[in-house]
């Protein structure tokens, strides 16, 4: 059985009112409480172990400071993130606009390798301001998955996290080779272990802002071996 550790960042507008990102995470962790669950620093850092097929996955959910005044802190939270759960409030269109801005920022900082799920929370409420068509079209255009969730009614909460985890797993197992990547002139951390893998040590030394371009210089297999999983 293989083991994986994924970092998922949790993003959601809090300036005008809470979109429910913390409730969503606590609902996910609380409902699945068992011996494997480790709730550590309140709702700021949560860790949970999942079993998907023959794989054991530990997901670390990092709550990010979502207030506008903490906007500049974003990149330090996103660095090395495998996935992002963007939460907006279906009853507040502005929160969806903010979520779209976060997608842009995530792509800018982490590149295309981050897997994104957009969660329209408070779906149990009636006065929706964000249409299904609008959000579905947007999610498709940015390669994200959209789900309607309700922490209060416990609707689609587990599904949101599980789907995100599954897609991260799929992405890691089917990541393009270095040749393909260079052909596309892409950037970001390559997460497969086939030909070239930028170690976190390298990213630490050379990639100050977290966005990493693949260097042309080939590395030895020994170097690949030392990269963490």
């Amino acid at each position: 059985m293989s083991r994986h550790n994924f970092k998922i960042v949790l993003l959601g507008e809090v300036t005008k009112g809470r979109v429910g990102k913390t409730s969503l995470t606590l609902r996910f962790v609380k409902n699945s409480f068992d011996d494997h669950q480790q709730s550590t620093i309140q709702a700021t850092y949560l860790q949970k172990e999942l079993r998907i097929g023959d794989k054991t996955v530990t997901i670390s959910v990092w709550d990010t400071a979502g207030q506008e005044r903490f906007h500049a802190l974003g990149p330090i939270y996103y660095r090395n993130a495998d996935g992002a759960l963007l939460v907006y409030d279906v009853t507040d269109h502005d929160t969806f606009i903010r979520a779209k801005n976060w997608v842009k920022e995530l792509r800018k900082v982490v590149g295309d390798d981050i897997t994104i799920t957009i969660a329209g929370n408070k779906s149990d409420m009636k006065n929706r301001q964000v249409s299904d068509e609008e959000v579905a079209e947007y999610a498709k255009s940015v390669g994200a998955v959209h789900l309607h969730t309700s922490a209060k009614a416990n609707r689609n909460v587990d599904e949101a996290f599980l789907d995100l985890t599954k897609r991260i797993l799929e992405k890691k197992s089917s990541a393009p080779s270095r040749t393909e990547l260079l052909g596309k002139q892409n950037s970001g951390i390559i997460i497969d272990n086939t030909e070239r893998r930028v170690t976190r040590t390298e990213s630490r030394m050379y990639g100050k802002n977290g966005g990493i371009s693949v260097a042309d210089e080939p590395k030895t297999t020994q170097e690949q071996k030392q990269c963490c999983g």
Binding site: T44, A65, I76, N80, R204, K225, C228, G229
Partner: protein, 464 residues
Amino acid sequence: MSAPEDNQKCTILIPPDNQVQLVLDTFSTPKVKQFVRGHILKESPLFLGQFVTEDGKHVREEFSIRSNKQALFSKNNQDDVSKIRHLEVIRGFAESLTVTVIHATTFYSANFNSYNIWHIDKCLHERHQEIESNAKKDESGQGDKAKMHPETVGEYKLYLKQFDENLYNLVQRHVQGFNNSYLLINGYHNQAVQKIVELYEQILSSQQYITSSQLSEDELTLKLSINSILIDGIFFKFHPFWLRSFQTLDDELLHRMDALNQKSMGDFGVPTLFQADQTLAHHILLILPHVNTPIEKLRIISKVIRQISETSSEQGTLTSDELVPILAYVVVQSKCPHLVSDCELVSKLQIPELDNTEYGFSLVSLQGALQVIQEECPELIIQPTTPTNIKASDMKSPNQVEPETLYRALTMPESHFKLNHNRSVHHSVSDESVEEMILKRKSMSSQVIRMFDEKSEIHESDLL
């Protein structure tokens, strides 16, 4: 320490690091003094080859012959055997005991009186060897905290020595190589980091225990051991250089802390609900400059955040939107020095496996808090400062151990002796302020870590 000044030849015995650390950590000052006196030998006035310790016990010097494993490859027959020096206790000890001298070096005092320093394989007194017997218990399955969950550098050293002494020696050789031959040039701190990372990866590539990227708990501990021993070993050389590199930023942060010191939690944007007393958190944060290695620093930062969370837990669910400003307030109140350089040191030299763990999150939260402080006080103009003069007085230890000279010799890195030995120069132990600071840090760090040793300790098992 008066021994080298009188005309009688003196020999100072240096037991293994972990046993010295045990004594410094466990025993009060009189016992430490007794320990020190028991490891100073003076030649017996009556018998050649015999010594008397300062506390009046007698030991005898003996030699044994050992075949050299490299004999088959040696062209010189004299290399086929080597002479091993032992010390056998004769009088004044409760039990018979023989210790082996691993390494011997002659030093000279300021008055050019010679004295010897011998590294021995264990303490000369049985009661100071309990850490070894505990470790043996663990091998037999009875469990031992030091082996299962090492936390301090001394414990990591013990862990690695027991795990594979050759690997431990390899790390020490890399430490020695860096300290003796690597030149640190101001302005090239990234290159220095790159070199340290290279050394770490060279050591990893030399071992056969970690072959998969999916680490078990033991493998993670092994990596942490290598990383901690390496960085602790080079610390006395690297850290002053690192502080100089970040001096301006550290000074700027301190000025900002001064400017913001009168602000309340509310001024930092902390909701009234979460405005609790965080005195303990900022006291814990003040330990940060007194530990050397990334993992020790990460443990302190995590403890600060846990403390904040515990204090606020009764008020409501704490999220990062509250944590970051509370942490900024705690940082300002603590006026903790060198936070910028410490955060950089940890983020660059911690093992990558910790990036996505609670430790990684804690570090990022602290970095976020520093950024908030900067934004709260962006208009502050900082005057250029002169290079840092690091003095021992900056790092006052509350429990200074006497006699100082020998204490310094006892805690001095092994590579330091070899450097002097190779160059055949006399060694002065009285005028190196930086070295003195490092030694005091060492004594403080082991004490303060234990002060905050709590139930909520994070172990490697939590990270996997």
